[in-house]
Symmetry: D2
Subunit: 371 residues, 4 copies
C-alpha cells in the first residue's frame, strides 16, 4: 500500500536507496519447479546496466545479483525469492548542494513535502537505480512464461525515437536491438541516433525518448475486465517507470484522429490446426476489451529528457531562497535508453501476473494434475 509492490499473483516488492548498502527485492508467487539460477537474471541486468557506452550514465557498478531464498537444488520452491544487489559506487561525495536545493524535474521537492525529510544521496528511493529490481523480476517472469506456456513468447523493447530523431518502426528487427548502444530496432537509425546524442551530450543537455514494446506469442484471454484490463495494467506498469510521461497501446493517440472503418481490425478465419482466427490489421495493439486477442501486443512509452543536465536551472533551497543548480561531471544524456530493458521487464511481469490470474479463474484443472 506504500507503493513498493507490483503485481497481484505474480508480485514483487523492491527496496533500497541509490546510495545505501544495497538494493533488493522479493519476487513472490513464483510456481514451484522452475529451473532458476543467478545467471538467468544476471544476463538481463547486464543489458540494463549503466556505464556501457558513452551514451549512458557513467556510474560503474557490476550490479551483481544474489539469490538469497526460494531456490533449492536449482529449482524454484514456491517460496519467495529474495534478491540483493550490493551498491558499490558509493564513493563519499559532497552532497551538500543537493541536500539543500531542489533539483527541477526531480522528486526532491515532492519527497521533502510529502515525508518531511528525504534521503538526498543520489536521489535516494527515487533513483532510477531501483529499476534494476524491475529487470530482475522481469527475468524471473520470463522463466515462468517459458515454463508454463512455451518458448513462442517473445517480448522485445526498442527505442524508436530520441528527441528529434525517429526510427522507422517498419524496419523493426529484434536481433538489431542488442547490437547497438541505443536498443534501436532499426539499423538505419543507429548512426543518426549516435551523432545526435553525441551533440546533445557535448552541450550538456539531454533528450527524451520513445520506447516501443512488442510481445508475440501471448495466449488469447489474458486480462481481467473492467478495471484490471491488460492495457490498463500495462499503462500503470510503464507509467511507473522513472521519467515516463505517456503510454500508448496499438495506435494510441493516433487512433483518436481515425474514423471507425479505418481503425477496425477485421477478423478472418484461419484453417490451421490452432483454430484461432487472424486479424487483417492490428490497430488495437493485440488487446480487445482489455483482454489479449492473440495478436502481437504493441505498447509505447514516452520518456522525458533527463532532468539532471549541465546547464544551470533556477530553483529554491530548503529555506525558500531562490538559487540555481547544475549537475556536475558526467551526466546521462538520454535516460530513456535504459528504459528499453526496463519497459520490457515490466511487460513480462504484467503478462505473467495475468497468466496466473487466468489460470486461477478461467482454466479448469482436474484435481491431481500437477505437471
Amino acid at each position: 500500500m506504500s507503493g513498493n509492490r507490483f503485481g497481484t499473483l505474480f508480485q514483487y516488492a523492491s527496496w533500497g536507496e541509490s546510495h545505501g548498502p544495497a538494493i533488493g527485492g522479493i519476487v513472490d508467487g513464483v510456481p514451484p519447479g522452475i529451473p532458476l539460477s543467478e545467471s538467468d537474471i544476471q544476463s538481463f541486468l547486464d543489458r540494463r546496466k549503466p556505464g556501457q557506452s558513452r551514451h549512458t550514465t557513467q556510474r560503474r557498478e557490476p550490479d551483481t545479483v544474489k539469490i538469497l531464498s526460494g531456490v533449492f537444488d536449482g529449482q524454484t520452491t514456491g517460496a519467495p525469492i529474495s534478491l540483493i544487489i550490493e551498491n558499490q559506487d558509493m564513493r563519499s561525495r559532497d552532497y551538500s548542494e543537493i541536500a539543500e536545493k531542489f533539483r527541477p524535474g526531480h522528486a526532491d521537492y515532492t519527497y521533502q513535502a510529502k515525508y518531511g525529510l528525504r534521503d538526498y544521496r543520489g536521489g535516494g528511493r527515487a533513483s532510477a537505480r531501483e529499476t534494476a529490481i524491475r529487470v530482475a523480476a522481469g527475468a524471473i517472469a520470463r522463466k515462468i512464461l517459458s515454463h508454463e506456456i512455451g518458448d513462442r513468447i517473445a517480448i522485445r523493447a526498442g527505442v524508436i525515437r530520441i528527441g528529434a530523431e525517429a526510427a522507422d518502426s517498419s524496419n523493426w528487427d529484434d536481433s538489431e536491438i542488442g547490437r547497438n548502444d541505443f536498443f534501436c530496432p532499426d539499423p538505419q537509425a543507429v548512426p543518426r541516433f549516435a551523432a545526435y546524442l553525441d551533440e546533445i551530450r557535448k552541450r550538456g543537455s539531454s533528450v527524451g525518448a520513445v520506447v516501443e514494446i512488442r510481445a508475440r506469442g501471448v495466449p488469447v484471454g489474458l486480462g481481467a475486465p473492467v478495471y484490471d484490463r491488460l492495457d490498463a495494467d500495462l499503462a500503470k506498469a510503464l507509467m511507473s517507470i522513472n521519467a515516463v510521461k505517456g503510454v500508448e497501446i496499438g495506435d494510441g493517440f493516433a487512433a483518436a484522429a481515425l474514423c471507425g472503418e479505418d481503425n477496425a481490425d477485421p477478423i478472418r478465419h484461419t484453417p490451421d490446426e490452432s483454430g484461432a482466427p487472424v486479424f487483417d490489421r492490428n490497430h488495437a495493439g493485440g488487446i480487445l476489451g482489455g483482454i489479449s486477442s492473440g495478436q502481437e501486443i504493441i505498447a509505447r512509452a514516452a520518456f522525458k529528457p533527463t532532468a539532471s543536465i549541465l546547464i544551470p536551472q533556477p530553483t529554491i533551497d530548503l529555506h525558500g531562497n531562490e538559487t540555481e543548480i547544475a549537475t556536475k561531471g558526467r551526466h546521462d544524456p538520454c535516460v530513456g535508453l535504459r528504459g528499453a530493458p526496463v519497459a520490457e521487464a515490466m511487460v513480462a511481469c504484467v503478462l505473467t501476473d495475468h497468466w496466473l490470474r487466468h489460470k486461477a479463474q478461467c482454466l479448469c484443472v482436474p484435481e491431481g494434475s500437477r505437471a
Copy 2:
C-alpha cells in the same frame, strides 16, 4: 482480483451487464459524517447520460441512482454505500446476429475465448454502460475531497479533439464545458466539432477523441512511489475506460522530443502565506517523482473511434465461418464525448484514494482528534 474493483482505501466495485435488470456498485472506505444524498450523485450521472443530443447514442435511460446503504440521516456512516441503477431500455431485440458473430473492435471474441461463453446482449459486461458507476463513485469522491480538503479542488475534463478537428487548449474555459454538446472547453471549436460530427454520423462512421483533464487545488504530497505513483494510477484509471488507447501526463509524448532545458520547470519562491513554491512552467503536469507538486495536474486520454458503425466489416462467426457485420439503426458517432465525465470521475477517485493513503502514512494525528 477479477478486475471489477478500483482503488485501495477509497475503493469501489461495479457489477452488472448492459441488458440485465440493473447495474450497480459498492463504494467503500468513505469517511463518516459526510453529507450525501442521491441528488449529489444524480447531477453527475445526468451529465454523462446518453441520448441528450444528436451527437451521442440514443439509448434513452433516466439512469436514476438509488442509495441502498451506508447513509443515515443524510450523512455517510463509514459503511459501504451500495448504489443501484435499474436498466430500463431493455426492449426485446433480436440478438441472434451479435450472438453468432464477433464484432471487430469489440470484446466479443476475447470474452468468448477467455470465458468460453459471453452475455452478448448489448455488450454485456463490456458495455460502456458500466461507466455510469464510475461517474457515481466519482461524485462521492468529490464529496470526500470537498469535506476534508475544501472547495479549492476543481477537477474538469474537456474534449480537445474529435477525429481530425482539434480545439485550442489555450482557450480552455471550465464554464464552457457544460454549455455545449461536446464537453469542449474551447468555445471557438464548438461549431467546427458540430459540423464535423454531423458529417461523420451521416455517413455511418465514427471518430476518436482526446479528453484532457485538469485538476487544480490538489494538495502537494499525493502519490505513493515507486509503483503506485500518482501518474501511474492515473494512467491505469484512464486506460481502464472503454476505448481508451493512450494516456499522457503533462507534456506526454511531446516531452520525448524535448531537450532537458526546455522540459524543466524552474522552481520559484513565493512570499505568500502558504509558503509553497511556484513553478515557472508545468511541463510535468503537476507530478514529480509520482507525487503531486501542488501545480495543476494535467492528463490526457485518447479514445479510439466507436467500433460499432453502419459500414459493414469483415468478421467470422462462432463456428469460424467468414461473414460480415454492421450496426443497424442509430449509432454513437463519438464514444469519446461521454469519456469526458467518466475521465473526470476516474481522476477524482484516484485523488481521493491517494488522499486517504497520505493521511494514513504521512499525516500525524494526535489521538482523539475526530473532527
Copy 3:
C-alpha cells in the same frame, strides 16, 4: 480495506444495514460456465433464516435472494454476481431508547466512538442480518468446489454445545443436523438442548454455543504459508462472525496440554489407487504447516451468549449519564444456533479461495486447456 470484503481470488463484499431497504453483496472471481440459479442459494438461506422455531429470533423475513448480474443462460459468466435481499420486517418502531443508550455487549458504543455517528436501527451494519450474505456467498463457493473438484467434498457444521449442555462429538451424524432445531449432529443431545434452551428463554436470558465444522474430501495442498495458512484464514473467517470469541483447529486448546507423542498423527501407507497416505489419528484437524493434508478438516468456533436479553443491564447514554437497558418483547436465546450455517459458509468460502490460489501458483496448465 474498510472490512466489508472477504477473500482474495474468490472474493465477496457485503453491504447493507439491518433496517435499510435491502442487504446485498457482490461475489467475484467465480469461474465461468458453472450452472447457478437463485434456488441454489435460496436453499442455504432457508436453513439460516430466523424465526423458524421458538428457539431462534422472531424476525420473520422470507429472505428471498435475487441474482442481478453475472449469470447468463443459467451459467456463471465470470463477471461479478450481484445478490440482493430486500428487508421486509422494517415495521416502524420506537428506536429512541437504543438511539440514546449503548447496549452492553453490542457494538453501539464502539461504532459511535469510531465513526462519530451510527445507524442505531436494529444494529445497523453490525446486525447479524449481514450473515445472510455470507451464507449466500458460501452457496456459490460450494458450486465452484463441486464443479471443479467433484462431489466428494462435504462441509457440515453442527452445534456441539449450548451453554452448560454439551453434545457428544463421537455421535456426529451429518444427516441429523438438518433434522432438529439446533443444527445438532448428536441425536441424543437434542432433547437436552431443547429443555435447556426453553428454560433459558423463559427467564429472559441467553447462552453461548460451540459450533464444530467438518470438511471431508478436501484436496491436499490448499493453504498458502506463512501468513495465509489455511488455518489462519479459517480462524479469521470464523472470528469475523458476530459473537464468536474463540476458534480451534483440530485439538485446539486441548493440544496445549498434550505431550508430543500423544499429539502426533502417525503417517501410514495406503496401497489404494490414489497413492495418498493415511494418518492414524487427526489431532491436527487436517492441516499441517498451514496446508491441507487430505484428512478431514476440523474447526470449532465459540459463540458468546446473545447480548440482548430481557434482564436489565447497567449502561450509559450518549451524554454519559448512567442508566439501564433491557430488550423488550421476544429475544434470541442462543445466537450461536444460527452460527452453524454461517460458519459452514465461511469454511466453504475459505476453501474455495485457496483452491483458486492453488490453481494459480501450483497447478501447471498446458495452454488451451479450457475444460
Copy 4:
C-alpha cells in the same frame, strides 16, 4: 497472495529458509520521521532468540539484524525498511533422513504434496526461524505506536500454561515475564514450570503451551467491521504462528458456557477528563463489534507440543514405504515458550495496521498538518 506478507497499511513480508544464507523481510507503510536504529529491533530479537536456557532449542545464533534501507540519519523516511539476519548455524549436517521421510506433525508431507519439491534442510520455509522477522516487524510497529499514540500503550505476552501445568492469570505481573526462562507472568508458577519441563525434556518428549497477550492503552476505535474486525485480524495473526491450534479473545471458549447476564460488561460513566466510559468487567477482552473499546485487549493462543521429539514415530518415506523417524540430539521441549515474544509482536503489528487504517478513514486531518 502467496502468503508471505502480513498486514494492509502497516505491512511486512518475510523471506528465507532455515538453512539458506539468510532470512529477512521488508517492513512497509512506516510513517516518516520515526527514530529507528538496529538496536531498537535487536533488543526484541534477543528476547526471542533460541538457545538461551536449557528449556529451549539449542540452535545458537546471534540473530543479528541489519537495516539495509528506509532509514536515513536515524529516522524512518517512509520508504520500505529492508531487514536481514544472516544464518550462521548452518553446519553441514546429514539431511538424508529428513529428505526422504515425512516427519509427523511437520509440514514435510504437505509441502511436498503442494509444491512437488521441498527445501528439507531444517524445515526450510516452514521453520520457526521465520518468526524472527515477525519479532523484528513487531519492534518497528511498537515504535510507530509510541510515536503516534504515546507511551501509554503496553503490549505483553506471557506463558500461562505448559502442558499439564497452569499459571494463575490473576497473579499476572508484567515485569516478571522478563525475569524467568518461561515468559511466565506468575512468579509462583515458575518453579513448577521448571521442574515439569525438565522432566519432559529428559524423557525426550515435548509439551504444548498457552500464551496470553494483554494490550493496555489501546485507543478506542481500532478495527474495521465486518470482515477485518480487530479480533478477526488478531485471530489470523496468532493462528499464523507455527504450532498454534487455537485462539481466544476475552473469555473465549468459556463464554460459550455462560448466560447473557454473566457475560455482559456493564458500562459506567467516569467523570475524569478523558470522558471515556469504563466497564465493570472485561469478558469481551476489549473488543466489541470488532472494534477496540478502550478496555484492555486480552487474547490467548494455544500451541501444540513440538512435533520433533526423541521418541520414534511411525511414518512413510517419499516412496510410500512405511518406516519410522525420531529427532536426534537436543530438541526443543516446548516450542510455545518462544511463542510469547512472537505473539506479542503479531499483536503489535495488528494494532499498528488498524491504527493507520483508522487514521485514513476516520480521523479528519486539516490539510497541511504534518507533525
